[in-house]
């Protein structure tokens, strides 16, 4: 009566689909969700051999290599600044947190059509114009790949506030006694951060890194909305979920390969989460 409804739903809507797609991934299934020809691990071999699939994993790695450390450092910095502030603290916290209310679609709209629109009246190009610099067609050229700047800044704006809140909560849990002891020992500024605040934030930091990693792996919304025009997505900058979306639900409706891809991605993310979770627990045991 308490746990039952939830567990039944979870089994039907989470476990059954996963098992079914494990099964489907061993078959050919074009335009149908019932398997036709058994192909064994053929779909998996195809996926792993497909340069586009491997390229999507590379795209994720490049994206994560930028977005994870930059979000981490900026949200920690903002949290430290806000935590030290007494005057207008609630105001600053709200301003940085506010974009959390915004969807990726709306942010993509503002980034694509207003800030980074290729014309002179786009804010980025207007600012460049004040310094006498020519307009940059942010999204319509690939060399240099300015579109990365558009995508990364949109995600930064959307998620810095969220992680700032996590760091603020962590900072508030640090005992004031530690800071008093540090003050008596004459520690100031950077030293306090290096030897007290940062080590005390270890659990928070690990959780934030894990979340950043998982979220980067699931990136879809801003890539899709910023980069696709007139219903077509460019062949570059396809992270795993974008690739999977076009494989399984594009014109081909290839559910055999799509399921194999979903299984591979699920395994990757589960391994990442488990490894990082293990590290988190080890970190706690040290404390």
């Amino acid at each position: 009566m308490f746990v039952g409804p939830f567990v039944i739903g979870l089994i039907i809507f989470v476990y059954v689909p996963i098992v079914w797609s494990l099964y489907l991934s061993l078959f050919e299934a074009y335009n149908t969700v019932t398997p036709t020809t058994f192909v064994g691990f053929g779909n998996y071999a195809d996926m792993l051999a497909d340069p586009a699939f491997r390229q999507s994993l590379v795209t994720f790695l490049v994206f994560a290599a930028v977005i994870v450390p930059v979000t981490f450092v900026l949200s920690l910095t903002v949290a430290l600044l806000v935590a030290r502030t007494t005057f207008m603290q609630a105001f600053f916290r709200s301003v940085f947190f506010l974009p959390t209310a915004c969807s990726y679609v709306v942010a993509s709209l503002i980034w694509k059509m207003s800030i980074f629109s290729g014309i002179r009246s786009g804010l980025a190009n207007a600012v460049l114009g004040w310094f006498g610099i020519d307009s940059i067609p942010w999204l319509s050229i690939t060399e240099p790949p300015w579109y990365w700047l558009v995508i990364v800044t949109a995600r930064l704006w959307l998620q810095i506030g969220f992680y700032m809140i996590l760091f603020l909560a962590g900072i508030q849990r640090i005992s004031p006694n530690l800071y008093e002891a540090a003050a008596i020992d004459g520690a100031q500024g950077w030293k306090v951060f290096r030897y007290i605040t940062f080590p005390q934030l270890r659990a928070t930091s690990t959780a934030v890194l894990l979340l950043l990693m998982i979220n980067a792996f699931q990136a879809f919304d801003e890539f899709y909305n910023i980069l696709s025009t007139f219903g077509t997505y460019p062949p570059y900058a396809r992270p795993p979920l974008v690739y999977l979306y076009y494989t399984a639900l594009g014109s081909g409706q290839d559910f055999g390969h799509g399921s194999a891809g979903a299984v591979i991605l699920t395994l990757i993310i589960a391994i990442v989460a488990l490894t990082q979770g293990r590290l988190l627990r080890l970190g706690r045991r040290d404390d």
């Binding site: 809507f13 996963i18 792996f217 025009t229 891809g261």
Partner: protein
Amino acid sequence: MAIVRGRRASRVAGWVRYSALALGAVLFLIPFYLLLRSAFMNEADLGSPTFHWLPPHWNTANLTGLFTNPAIPMARSMLNSAFIAVTQTTGVLVLSGLAGYGLARIPYRWSNAVFYIITATLLIPAAVTFVPSFVLVSTLGWISTLQGLIVPGLFQALATFLFRQFFLGFPKEIEEAAFMDGLGYWGTFWRVVVPNSYGFVAAIGTITFIGTWNAFLWPLVIGRDQDSWTVQIALSTFLTAQSVQVSQLFMAALVAIAPLLLMFLFLQRWIVEGVERSGIGGD
């Protein structure tokens, strides 16, 4: 002397800190400002080669046009989004609240196995399994239906896990008193535990609502017909197809985020708590 220098140094540090915060705040508010400004501009001014801080001609026709233009299903998609967000949030709160309480308080034979079944799915983000879920939902014939959009999202392992953690810390004495008065688990839960947990329910409820309102991938996969579009899908369709006027698109986006901005204004405390709880896993 050293103290005076220290004070001056800390005053300088304070100025640096406030300048950095003020600069950051301006940068963070600019996108909202651009959204607001562009929503009230007309096409000619938006496309002109000069950047305008304020609309040269105030244009309110976008707002009325949004709900009268038959090519833009704004009213319908806002209604869909509202219905989905409200039912899904309520459903998650009831299902996960009950399950969390059961896991925390009611001993039975397979409780360990059930707990593992639930927490194992924490490792798998729902977005990664959209292909399997699509296969199931299309087999059920639920493509482009509200139940197809709502039901698969009702079973949130994270919410259940957080409720369990919360109820484990709930003062047992209150429940024992209720038991003495002859209330069973069911009565105790609804009449004693729930009324004393509104803060936590509000925290989980607000972030679930935000997540549902802003969801994109699943509504994109399932909402094929225009009648089943959520407001995010309507916006995205017009953004990527560039089929409507840009200024009208900005007005649509402004209307789409208005409910959440209001929520932030009045319920920010609970949203912050929800973020803290869900981010750190409830400890």
